[in-house]
């Protein structure tokens, strides 16, 4: 979050010219670009769920690997921020490691794995299990921002549909699922209605996470780098997962619990243990799982406390 120090930094001329060595600006992007992105964020916040176009830049990571989220984070970061980066809910997945390293290198900000300590959390595919506060910003990486894309490939059409609130096709699609399969088969990237107006893609988070978006005190911003769109859910905004009266929205459930921390109220990853197909479930949110284990909780497959904390 932008603090006084950064204002000063900007006043001092920000980027200067990029030379061929390591002459990159704080958090990589030049100040002009950051301002452009912040303007797009403000627009997105002012119109919840609306996809604001922005002049996305090439980043030193490939498109589809979080360039939208990275640009948002780069323009939101101030020197006092504490950054957490997760992918699939975990801090130690390769892409999360790489993005965290990028910001450590280009911004020198403090990073953390603890959800509660972070002021900015960049995520791919998950919302942390621990409830977020009003002091935090959740930055989502988005591959395809347009929820209507699979029904209508043309941008001109979909923008018109949003403008006219013409969302019939989406309901028809969900209804067809029910007619064909007896239930809505969409399990992630499950469309939501934001602030009673715009249908929005929550990014490919499992629908398990959808309810966490509703009324969330943290600002949620979404960046699609390749598609050059930013959208947002301001704090305390209603986010409703689309459903029907006779087929209400429901989330994933597991019969078991986390093998390590024993939690029966977190999103679980399935792990195949051997060729015989034996499997176990563990929390996808690595920080949540760690915190529970540290607090003394233990699941049926937990290793003795000392071995579990070792770096494999």
């Amino acid at each position: 979050m932008l603090k006084e120090a950064d204002m000063r930094h900007e006043a001092e001329g920000g980027t200067g010219g990029a030379d061929r060595g390591d002459g990159y600006n704080f958090a990589y992007l030049d100040e002009q670009t950051k301002r452009m992105i912040r303007r797009a964020i403000l627009k997105a916040v002012a119109i919840p769920g609306y996809q604001a176009p922005f002049a996305g830049r090439e980043m030193p990571m490939p498109y589809g690997w979080g360039t939208g989220g990275i640009q948002l984070t780069a323009s939101l970061l101030g020197r006092d921020d504490v950054l957490k980066v997760i992918d699939q809910g975990a801090d130690d997945t390769t892409n999360a490691v790489s993005i965290r390293k990028f910001f450590r290198r280009t911004a020198g900000v403090e990073t953390t794995e603890r959800t509660a300590e972070a002021t900015i959390i960049q995520t791919r595919h998950r919302i942390p299990e621990q409830a977020l506060s009003g002091e935090q910003i959740l930055v989502y990486q988005v591959p395809i921002p347009e929820p209507l894309r699979w029904m209508e490939p043309r941008e001109r059409e979909t923008r018109t549909m949003h403008a006219l609130e013409e969302y019939g096709v989406m309901h028809v699609k969900l209804y067809e699922d029910i007619a064909r399969h007896g239930r809505i088969a969409t399990s992630f990237d499950y469309p939501v209605l934001v602030g009673g107006r715009y249908i929005m893609s929550p990014s490919p988070i499992p629908k398990y996470d959808n309810p966490k978006m509703d009324g969330c005190p943290a600002l949620q911003v979404f960046g699609a780098g390749r598609e050059k769109r930013i959208y947002a859910i301001p704090p305390h905004t209603s986010v409703r997962s689309l459903d029907f009266e006779d087929h209400p929205f429901e989330v994933q459930r597991w019969d078991g619990c986390c093998g390590l921390c024993g939690s029966d109220r977190s999103y679980l990853d399935e792990i195949i243990l051997n060729d015989a197909g034996e499997r176990m479930f563990v929390c996808s949110d690595s920080d949540y799982c760690r915190a529970r284990r540290e607090a003394g909780h233990s699941g049926p497959m937990a290793a003795p406390a000392r071995a579990a904390t070792g770096d494999a």
Binding site: T15, A18, Y24, L29, D30, P53, A55, G56, E58, M59, P60, M61, P62, Y63, G64, W65, D87, Q88, G89, D92, T93, T94, N95, V97, S98, R124, H125, R126, P143, P153, R154, E155, R156, H181, G182, R183, S187, F188, D189, P204, I205, P206, Y208, R226, Q252, W254, Y267, D269, E270, I271, L273, V282, S284, M301, A303, A307, A308, G310, D311, A312
Partner: protein, 375 residues
């Protein structure tokens, strides 16, 4: 006993070391210098500058070295660098009519003022591997440049300035004239692309677009998925001066020379109430010696002018959302390859969903079986 997978950071560092090692190859072979790449792999360097949309042969050569010869990766490196550069000024439009021509051919006329200048081209080579190059440099690798007057291009002094085909035909009104309507061309590196995109934006996207993609799109228009029969009116390659006109000076200052390849494709247009019968034009322009790219771009440019000419829509090359949204190889390569990233959370969601669907299908079957028994 299960211990959660950890250790991504060290694995990444080690992977980078391996990559470095692979890049260097066998240390017994001499290391390639960036200068050697720039001078001896010039066409790759040109393509990287073109799609990287940054004219800097040295950095393009560096990118190619760093990318181990992977051109798309090198384009990406150059783009990622380009994006950090401040924009100091916009140049004046370059005058390709004033080009110091090193190659200029027309397929539409047997001869034309200034003549056909073949220049350096693969066109009439026999594609036979030259095993002589295996053994290193030969005397024949360093030919004397042909005398300038041998090409017949240098006339009336003043370099190789040749009138373009478009202006030659425009005198008779037979080719679409180029008009400056004074509008400021768009810039998709500064503003998000919104559809419909005007011609300046389309040309910009095509110029940065992947050569393979643009080539195939252009090719498709020749095979019935597009618009009419093209003639290569003119292809020219050579140096042009880049100038800026700083406001405080009030006159233009030359910054230097860059090599460009330009292509004017001609398409017969029988005209209508508004347009007289004439040749419509498709335009291609590329950094360096990128002739294939410039030609393909010109074909696609014309195909995308579908509304202007009221063409029947027959193929994807005429659909600007299809072409412009998919021509950028940095975007395409990134998104295709992001499938390598872990997706296990969504996969888990799908597993759960499939299991439920299977369970309800089973129970429906059971119900149906019971129903039949009951009958």
């Amino acid at each position: 006993m299960y211990v959660a997978v950890k250790g991504g950071e060290r694995a990444i560092d080690e992977a980078h070391k391996l990559l470095d090692k692979e890049r260097r190859g066998d240390p017994a072979t001499p290391e390639m210098g960036v200068g050697q790449i720039r001078e001896q792999l010039g066409l790759a360097v040109d393509r990287i500058m073109c799609e990287g949309s940054l004219y800097d042969p040295e950095l393009a050569a560096l990118a190619l070295k760093q990318a181990q010869g992977d051109v798309v990766e090198a384009v990406f490196l150059l783009r990622a660098y380009r994006t950090t550069l401040p924009r100091l000024a916009a140049s004046l439009p370059v005058e390709t009519e004033e080009m110091d021509v090193r190659r200029r051919i027309s397929a539409s006329f047997k001869d034309l003022p200034g003549g056909q200048v073949l220049g350096p081209t693969f066109d009439y080579t026999h594609r036979l591997l030259d095993f002589g190059l295996l053994g290193g440099e030969r005397a024949a690798d360093l030919p004397d440049a042909p005398a300038p007057d041998a090409s017949g291009a240098e006339e009336e002094g003043g370099g190789n300035r040749l009138s373009g085909i478009a202006s030659l035909l425009a005198r008779e009104g037979l080719a679409e004239a180029s008009e400056d309507d004074g509008s400021v061309p768009g810039d998709l590196t500064r503003d998000p692309l919104v559809y419909p995109a005007d011609r300046s934006l389309r040309l910009q996207a095509l110029a940065r677009g992947d050569e393979g993609f643009v080539l195939s799109m252009g090719y498709s228009t020749q095979r019935g998925f597009g618009s009419g029969h093209p003639f290569a009116g003119e292809i020219r390659m050579g140096g042009v001066e880049v100038e800026i006109a700083p406001e405080e000076l009030g006159f233009p200052v030359a910054l230097g020379e860059i090599t460009l390849t330009e292509c004017q494709m001609l398409f017969k247009d029988t005209g209508d109430a508004v347009r007289p019968p004439q040749f419509a034009r498709g335009y291609g322009l590329a950094f360096g010696r990128c002739e294939r790219k410039a030609m393909a771009m010109a074909l696609v440019d014309r195909a995308l002018r579908v509304q202007e000419f009221g063409d029947a829509v027959k193929g994807p090359a005429q659909d600007q959302e299809f072409v412009l949204s998919h021509c950028d190889n940095v975007e395409a390569s990134g998104f295709v390859q992001h499938l390598k990233l872990p997706h296990h959370v969504d996969f888990q969601a799908e597993l759960e969903s499939l299991r439920r669907l299977r369970a309800s299908r089973e129970s429906r079957k059971d119900d149906a079986a019971k129903g039949e028994e009951a009958c």
